[in-house]
């Protein structure tokens, strides 16, 4: 039996407290009103040489011809300085405007002759644009602490799901090596019910408009008379409507939790049984779960991640998300196993078990890259505007996280874990595992942040605190659950083989 060391328990509490404080700080420092945002933008303008004042003087000067490219921007649109790009053809215009209009759906070109009244119109239009821009930034900044919380929460939720999927596969495949690790996996998935509740609460809050992570939930989006009307989203409202969406979420979370609960229960019952009835029950249940899982996983990826960019869609997205959290889940199994082994709790685990898990980490990392690249390359190659904006934003605004995730999730593990001897060396595997986990956090960050905070992203206090909080909770729940049952199942039909597994 495992005993939760008091040091680790204290550590988890410290993480949770620091995390909560940081999350709270994130919410407190988020701007409350449009005026706050005005102030923030003013302060930023002081750094860049003045955008708006300079533009205003241009209008007063009066020009011969103006070409205004007013790019209507959707919620997800981001630009470096202005959300609309204004091009002045006059010679006076020496101030360089940021003319990169990202994610622009339509560009309206209006050429007007220069008149006195024109200057007025122009000023008015500019004021409107400015107001729109400020509102846009306001939403992004308000989303920031919520998005930070959301990314960390879904990351840990899906890690537990990755572990659960791996566990179910091991059962169904009748793997001979992994039964000594079943209790470790069950310990990790004990986090699932806890984080499901937190996650579901965050989803619910979006329905009450407490946060605005999902554009398609905005009021009036489906109403043709509303200024918020969005034809594309309205066309998807048969699928993307809150009632249907939240009930799907409820069904998925419930289904996963029921499997986890029953599987654990049967596994413990099998220890005390005289026959293999519970083992067989678990086998059948795991097979059924895997069918349910792959369907729900795909839909989950559309609902919880892809719908953030509601104008965009990709067919292999579900698999891509799956690969991302599956490899993270396996890595977490590896790290927890190595921790327990190093504390002397898993005497039956030998370096061959570690080697096998390392191979999975390696293989699924490559699989993730395959999907990551396939999705990227297909869209890059065809370059269809409605699809490519997704990557344009990520490459231009999220340059470092976008390519960084590729290096952390592919280049580093492939070079490190390709060596058979390295796969057995604890410190190398732990190092590789940490890089993989950070890489996949960044991967989820890349999926969610561009659609919620756009160019206002930063990995600062709210993001790191949210991670620390869920990590602290993870340690507390998981290691607490590990104390509840012996670390080696007694009567699993494959347990003897697993104990003597040697590769």
């Amino acid at each position: 039996m495992y005993t939760f060391s008091s040091k680790l328990k204290t550590f988890s509490f410290v993480l949770m407290i620091v995390g909560i404080l940081g999350i709270g700080y994130g919410f407190l420092t988020a701007p409350k009103t449009i005026q706050d945002v005005e102030a923030i933008l003013k302060a930023e303008e002081a750094h860049h040489e003045g955008g708006h004042e300079a533009a205003a003087t241009h209008e007063a000067a009066g020009a011969e011809s103006h070409e205004t490219v007013a790019a209507t921007h959707e919620e997800t649109a981001k630009t470096a300085e202005h959300s609309t790009a204004v091009e002045h053809e006059e010679a006076v215009a020496e101030t360089t405007h940021d003319t990169i209009a990202k994610d622009t759906v339509a560009a309206v070109t209006v050429a007007e002759p220069a008149h006195a009244e024109h200057a007025e119109n122009k000023a008015e239009a500019h004021a409107d644009e400015h107001a729109e821009h400020v509102e846009h930034v306001f939403h992004q900044l308000q989303n920031k602490p919520w998005a930070a919380l959301y990314v960390a929460c879904i990351f840990f939720l899906l890690i537990t799901m990755g572990v659960l999927a791996f566990y179910a596969i091991q059962q169904v495949a009748q793997a001979g090596w992994s039964p000594v690790l079943f209790r470790v996996m069950q310990g990790i998935t004990a986090y699932l019910p806890v984080i499901s509740v937190v996650f579901f609460a965050i989803l619910l809050l979006s329905g009450f408009h407490i946060h605005h992570l999902f554009v398609w939930m905005k009021e009036g989006v489906t109403d043709p008379t509303s200024p918020n009307y969005d034809e594309i989203i309205a066309g998807k409202s048969g699928y993307l409507n809150f009632a249907f969406w939240i009930s799907r979420a409820a069904i998925f979370l419930l289904g996963w939790n029921v499997y986890r609960y029953l599987s654990r229960k049967n596994c413990l019952a099998q220890d005390e049984a005289n026959d293999d009835v519970f083992y067989k029950k678990n086998f059948k249940m795991s097979a059924a779960f895997l069918v349910f899982f792959i369907v729900s996983e795909s839909i989950m990826a559309w609902d919880w991640i892809m719908s953030i960019d509601a104008h965009w869609f990709s067919t292999l997205f579900g698999w891509y998300v799956f690969a991302s959290f599956f490899v993270s889940g396996i890595t977490v199994i590896q790290l927890v196993t190595i921790y327990l082994k190093s504390k002397g709790y898993l005497e039956n685990v030998n370096s061959s078990h570690i080697h096998d898990l390392s191979k999975f980490m390696f293989g699924i990392s490559v699989f993730w890259t395959y999907l990551w690249f396939s999705q990227f390359m297909l869209i890059w190659y065809a370059n269809i505007p409605e699809e490519v904006t997704y990557f344009k934003t990520r490459i231009e605004v999220f340059t470092v996280p976008f390519w960084g995730a590729f290096f952390m999730n592919f280049v580093f593990p492939i070079l490190l874990l390709i060596n058979s001897d390295f796969k057995r060396i604890y410190w190398i595997v732990v190092m590789g595992g940490i890089v993989i986990l950070v890489g996949h956090y960044v991967d989820f960050f890349n999926m969610i942040m561009p659609g919620t905070v756009g160019d206002r992203w930063f990995i600062g206090v709210p993001e790191i605190s949210a991670l620390l909080f869920f990590f602290g909770l993870f340690i507390y729940v998981v290691f607490n659950a590990l104390t509840k049952a012996p670390l080696v199942p007694k009567r699993n039909p494959f347990i003897e083989e697993s104990k003597h597994f040697h590769y």
């Binding site: 690249f373 990227f376 390359m377 890059w380 190659y381 370059n383 390709i418 058979s420």
Partner: protein, 179 residues
């Protein structure tokens, strides 16, 4: 080699063979070769053979393949004739790289696989029309044969191998072999 005699100890079970190999090693007799009809798991370790370096070769060959592909694509598509083909940016290698990745990947795999196989053939001296080096035809079907060189301890060796469970122990004269 001073002697031109070898012992052929023949077994009909791989467990017995493994046991015999352990005993032979413990008795410090030099095992020339072991012939088996199929791979016997752990035999190389029991015989104390050095691990293969074929995987390291494959890694190097893969790197070579990647370099070949990169150099080739860069020269053809970017340096030699940077045409505009369907709007693909051929100004610099990195700009058009995603389109090259499928080729780069396949070339890496191709070189790694083929050169490694050829290396294997060369190192294990396998080629068409090669004369088979089979001391006893039964070793390709259901018998295992351990070949141990005889110095001047013939009787002792025969007795030793009889005791290891060999179904047959032969002392064979061999013409001084080339390898």
């Amino acid at each position: 080699m001073s002697s031109n005699k070898v012992i052929h100890a023949i077994y009909n079970d791989d467990d017995v063979l493994m046991d015999a190999v352990h005993k032979t090693r413990a008795a410090h007799h030099h095992i020339e070769e072991v012939f088996t009809p199929f791979p016997v798991h752990g035999l190389d370790k029991a015989m104390g053979l050095a691990p293969t370096r074929l995987a390291i070769c494959a890694f190097i060959y893969g790197c070579i393949g990647l370099s070949v592909a990169t150099t080739m694509l860069n020269y053809i598509m970017i340096q030699d004739w940077p045409q505009d083909i369907g709007g693909k940016p051929s100004f610099a290698f990195y700009q058009n790289m995603p389109a090259f990745v499928p080729v780069m990947f396949e070339m890496t795999v191709f070189h790694a696989a083929h050169l490694m196989v050829i290396t294997f053939y060369m190192r294990s001296r396998l080629w068409p029309f090669k004369k088979a080096e089979n001391p006893d035809v039964r070793t390709t079907d259901d018998h295992f044969l351990m070949e141990v060189s005889v110095k001047d301890n013939e009787d002792e060796l025969v007795k030793f191998f009889k005791s290891t469970g060999a179904v047959e122990v032969k002392v064979v004269e061999v013409e001084n072999d080339k390898h």
